[in-house]
């Protein structure tokens, strides 16, 4: 099907490279366009944020390819050096609460920091927007080479 196409639209350059690999000779017909995003109604203000106790946000499924294991280990390293940093982990496994995600994922040695590691579970877009407004840093530790998007 791909070979028959006059043009193939790829989301990323790495997706284009993947197409090249599987369908040699296609590259001249591949165009990288990407996904767009909708403007938000009100842009948040930097002053809403606490400069000295920044919030780090992760959002997504808690699976290996999203880098969730590396993130949990990174939280330990970060808090050992900068104990004021706060973390919010939204998402997880479908139909699971934040508390369930915490008990499944949080290692015992991070229990002393539980108050500043917030597992929210899955959120509505409106709830999610609240965390986007409150957070300072977004972390995306995915490890999928071609399909990380």
């Amino acid at each position: 099907m791909i070979r028959d196409a006059d043009r193939v639209i790829a989301l990323t350059r790495s997706e284009r490279d993947l197409l090249k690999q599987y369908c040699p000779g296609m590259e001249e017909r591949v165009r990288v366009v990407g996904n767009g995003i909708e403007e938000i109604a009100i842009a948040p203000q930097a002053k809403d944020r606490d400069r000295d106790a920044p919030i780090v946000l992760f959002s997504g499924r808690f699976v290996e390819r999203k880098g969730i294991r590396e993130l949990i280990e990174a939280i330990r390293i970060v808090l050992a050096q900068s104990p004021a940093v706060r973390f919010v982990l939204t998402g997880g496994h479908r139909h699971c609460t934040g508390a369930q995600m915490e008990s499944w994922l949080l290692p015992a040695r991070l229990y002393p920091h539980r108050a500043q590691i917030n597992f929210t579970g899955w959120l509505t877009p409106r709830e999610m927007a609240t965390w986007y407004r409150a957070a300072d840093i977004l972390v995306v530790p995915s490890c999928m080479n071609h399909l990380a998007w």
Binding site: A43, G60, V85, V140, S142, C143
Partner: protein, 110 residues
Amino acid sequence: MVILQGMLHGLAAAASAVGGPAEILDHGRTGVLFAPRDAAAVAEAILRLANDPDGRVRIAEAGARDVREKWLWPRIVEKMRRVYEELVPSARRVITARPTAGLHALADAA
């Protein structure tokens, strides 16, 4: 796409240097990229942003500008239109004039 949402909301983004994120973020200017599958690298990137509030705000503001210049739908639709135009050079004129004219013509021919 989480990265674009974060940039739009003025967060300083830190991501593995793979796939979409690596193509969206300009390391050190609009975000921070780190090696994938490496917890120490994730921690280092977070600490770099966490411990430098001014640098963090600079990166967040550059990212918020960049995402609006490159990734809002009107820009993407324009890029998409150019791909279709490569195949149908007159696509723009036809679509602007009468969106369904071509389809009616096909139906009549059938």
